[in-house]
């Protein structure tokens, strides 16, 4: 083989630029809220609360946005995996009260980690069955997808009621997770710090997989043009099942986190969070994990700032946020370049 041709298309490309404006929204929003809140310590507390809430939402929503990006599947049944995760955590932690009530952080972690693992494994398994039985027959039929996934969630919630009952169940935090840490006059709940750490860890792992592995390349390529991915010889169906199972498992993990965040769980909790999830993935740009991350944090911060400053506005603050973002960027903060 020999090199042959003359130089091709020597014109320079535009410089590679990261679109930083959506990233700047977070500090801008936080700094704008500071004078409105007035007290620095209250601002720190609210900001951490918002970031923690945002991180949990990200854990739950990241799978949902990838599922949409890969196969254009709008899964309105995602909430059932959240609920399932939370109830499994109740069952696991309920059998380990000796460990959760111990003041030892290590013993608490040794109770919570199996609960998280169980939630992820079972939610992932149920996600596999959900994809095979409910979603697969309606590929490419968006209206039917909406109807059948909502129906699937209703059935799932009723099954959860059969197993765990219809009543709200308390999910107390393990002893070492309770209380606050003081930073000057600002009190930050320990659990919120833990949520931020877990959320950042999930984001870091997801970022590494998506940017540094061939599997991640395939997922990113599939979100843009699944037909071309198939033409290159990869089975997008298998990739989709993998992403769906991983997304369901993450929703299960998020259910555990959200349940401990609320400290009470109900069979309807997944359905209630569903609205927030769709707001987040629409704000972020459907199919974009980076956009989902920024969108989740924005939603978390806005909910907490609005809850403090104007509780009545808090009821619709996230819808308002979505409207403003879409007026500015109709395809979301980081639109995915499709086909």
């Amino acid at each position: 083989m020999t090199a042959s041709t003359t130089t091709l298309a020597q014109d320079a490309l535009p410089a590679v630029k990261l679109d930083r404006i959506p990233l700047l929204l977070l500090p801008v929003l936080a700094l704008a809220a500071l004078p409105l809140i007035g007290s620095f310590s209250t601002w720190v507390t609210l900001t951490f609360a918002g970031l923690a809430m945002g991180m949990i939402i990200f854990i739950i929503a990241s799978g949902l946005t990838l599922v949409f990006g890969l196969m254009d599947v709008l899964n309105f049944g995602h909430g059932v995996f959240i609920t399932l995760g939370a109830f499994l955590a109740v069952s696991v932690l309920g059998r380990m009260t000796g460990w959760t009530e111990s003041p030892s952080l290590l013993r608490n972690l040794l109770a919570v980690l199996p609960a998280m693992a169980a939630a992820m494994v079972v939610a992932g398994g149920v996600g596999f069955a959900f994809e095979r039985l409910i979603i697969r027959p309606v590929y490419g039929q968006p209206l039917k997808q909406i109807m059948i996934t909502m129906g699937g969630m209703i059935v799932g919630v009723e099954l959860i009621k059969v197993i765990w009952g219809a009543q709200a169940i308390p999910l107390p935090l393990p002893t070492a997770f309770r209380g606050s840490l003081l930073f000057g006059e600002a009190a930050v709940e320990k659990y919120r710090l833990i949520s931020v750490v877990v959320g950042l860890s999930v984001f870091a792992v997801m970022f590494w997989v998506l940017s540094r592995t061939k599997l991640g390349l395939l997922i990113r390529a599939g979100v843009q043009d699944r037909e071309m991915v198939e033409s290159l010889g990869y089975r997008i169906g298998r990739l989709f099942i993998g992403v769906f199972v991983a997304g369901s498992a993450l929703a299960g993990l998020g259910g555990v986190m959200w349940g401990m965040y609320q400290q009470t769980i109900t069979p309807e909790m997944g359905g209630q969070i569903n609205v927030l999830l769709f707001i987040v993935i629409i704000i972020g740009g459907m199919g974009s994990v980076g956009g989902c991350f920024i969108g989740s944090l924005l939603v978390g911060l806005v909910a907490n700032y609005a809850g403090f400053l104007a509780p009545k506005v808090a009821l619709f603050s996230n819808i308002l946020l979505m409207v403003i973002v879409l007026m500015w960027r109709p395809e979301g903060l980081y639109p995915v370049g499709k086909r």
Partner: protein
């Protein structure tokens, strides 16, 4: 004597309610570059997509290397050694040139796993790929994207390349570079089925030609025969080569 690598016999394809291919019969011989010509809507792209399994043939057979692949899935067909460059090029715009190439190299987990000599050969054909290696493919010009699309198809040896209108929308200088690259490719005995509307481009590369109209092959033979017969060109394509030079 050359044997056919790809054979279509009586292929019909429906897309929804539309009957697009009406019994396509086509042979692509090993080591040759066959050009599929025809006006817009003649069924050229549908033929490529049917071969690739992106649309299923409703009847007829598509035989590749002796095997009927008409019921195979697209990834299975790709694994048999067929590479496809679609009309829209199928570039992953959010991925870098390097990442696009890595995806196309199915056997490689990392770029280092790709055969270095082959990669250098591809860089020789398309120097812009080396220059913009770490750039997002979405920022490339139309010509560079086309080069990337072809480079991706040949990053690993394939038995057959299906290429849909590589000259479409390109400046003359870039088209000339494409012709040079395809000539080099032909020297490696790669079998190519090329869909084109630019007859001048096609004439310089094709060993064989097939002309489509109304979802059927209406002429097939040696490219030299069609290039040398203005009456035939006029009748089949509504043009004479002289008008395109």
């Amino acid at each position: 004597m050359k044997t056919p690598l790809l054979q279509l016999e009586g292929v019909h394809t429906h897309i929804g309610a539309y009957h697009i291919l009406h019994g396509v019969d086509l042979q692509v011989m090993r080591g040759e570059l066959t050009v599929l010509l025809g006006r817009n809507g003649a069924g050229k792209t549908t033929t490529l997509r049917t071969i690739m399994g992106l649309w299923q043939a409703s009847s007829g057979s598509v035989r590749f290397d002796g095997e009927d692949i008409s019921a195979r899935t697209t990834p299975e067909i790709a694994h048999r050694g067929i590479a496809y460059v679609p009309e829209n090029m199928g570039i992953f715009g959010d991925l870098t040139v390097r990442e696009n190439m890595l995806l196309a190299a199915r056997g490689a987990k990392r770029i280092e796993d790709i055969d270095g000599a082959r990669l250098e050969w591809v860089f020789g054909l398309f120097p812009a790929m080396k220059r913009f290696w770490e750039h997002p493919a979405g920022l490339l010009s139309g010509g560079q994207k086309q080069m990337l699309a072809v480079a991706r198809a040949i990053i690993e040896p394939r038995q057959l390349l299906l290429i849909d209108e590589p000259s479409k929308g390109l400046a003359p200088a870039i088209i000339q570079n494409m012709i040079t690259a395809f000539r080099e490719l032909k020297q490696t005995d790669t079998t190519v089925l090329l869909v084109e509307q630019n007859f001048n481009f096609a004439r310089q590369l094709g060993d064989k030609v097939a002309v489509m109209d109304g979802g059927c092959i209406v002429h097939s033979g040696a490219m030299a025969d069609l290039a040398g017969d203005e009456d035939l060109q006029q009748r089949l394509l509504g043009l004479s080569l002289a008008a395109h030079q």
